[in-house]
């Protein structure tokens, strides 16, 4: 079974703090993604990475950065958290090389971040 693990289920931070959200997958997937989920807006892509040290902006990258130093780990960084970044954050991974499950995304359980 593919497992995508997000380090925290709930986080409470203060405005202006630097926040790290961590995600680890155990299936040797090439692709990893960070989404933000808000009511009525669905899953919006923040950043994705298709290889170690490679990243590409998604639809809403402003205020976020990412880091992928190892294949299994993808970090989302809020340089200076703001209240409008209060949301549920979901990490996912996929492989473009798996014939049986090409590009199917496997999600973590999510981190609910509150910025006060």
């Amino acid at each position: 079974d593919v497992k995508v693990t997000q380090s925290s289920r709930y986080l409470v931070k203060r405005t202006g703090e630097k926040v790290f959200l961590e995600c680890v997958q155990d299936m040797d997937h090439e692709n990893m993604f960070w989404y933000r989920q808000d009511p009525g807006l669905g899953l919006r892509l923040i950043y994705f990475s298709y290889d170690v040290k490679m990243k590409e902006k998604g639809d809403i990258p402003e205020g976020y950065s990412v880091s992928r130093e190892k294949k299994e780990r993808f970090s989302l960084i809020l340089e200076s958290a703001s209240t409008n970044q209060t949301s549920m954050y979901l990490c996912a991974s996929s492989s473009p090389l798996d014939d049986l499950a090409k590009n199917i995304q496997y999600f973590g359980a999510g981190t609910r971040l509150s910025v006060l």
Binding site: N31, L43, L45, P96
Partner: protein, 111 residues
């Protein structure tokens, strides 16, 4: 641009049928469907790769009209376990691996 899903919400009685539609403004390589139960991670249901392809999963099936850039998810004889939010995801021809998800359709099944 996000694909447009309709309806935004559906309430059914157990045993009733439902159709969820997904429409994209971009040419599609594939369409993915996922279901997210309350408090849980989204889970993959099915992927449609070819125009006109229909796939099934239990009593849940889907179709993909490549020319119209549309997909529909069909839930037949709904069960309580079908409750959740359904997302379609579009994978563009020029942006393989990257899926853009719709805003979701919340499905509630009542006994």
């Amino acid at each position: 641009q996000q694909p447009v899903q309709s309806p935004q919400a559906v309430i059914l009685r157990e045993g009733e049928d439902a159709v969820i539609n997904c429409s994209s403004s971009k040419a599609l390589y594939s369409v993915h469907w996922y279901r997210q139960k309350h408090g849980e991670a989204p889970v993959f249901l099915m992927i449609l790769l070819k125009g006109g392809e229909q796939k099934g999963h239990e009593k849940i099936s889907a179709s993909f009209n490549e020319k119209k850039q549309q997909s529909s998810l069909y839930l037949t004889a709904s069960q309580l376990s079908y409750s959740g939010t359904y997302f379609c995801g579009s994978e563009g021809i020029s942006s393989a691996s990257k899926i853009i998800f719709g805003s979701g359709t919340r499905l509630s099944i009542r006994p």
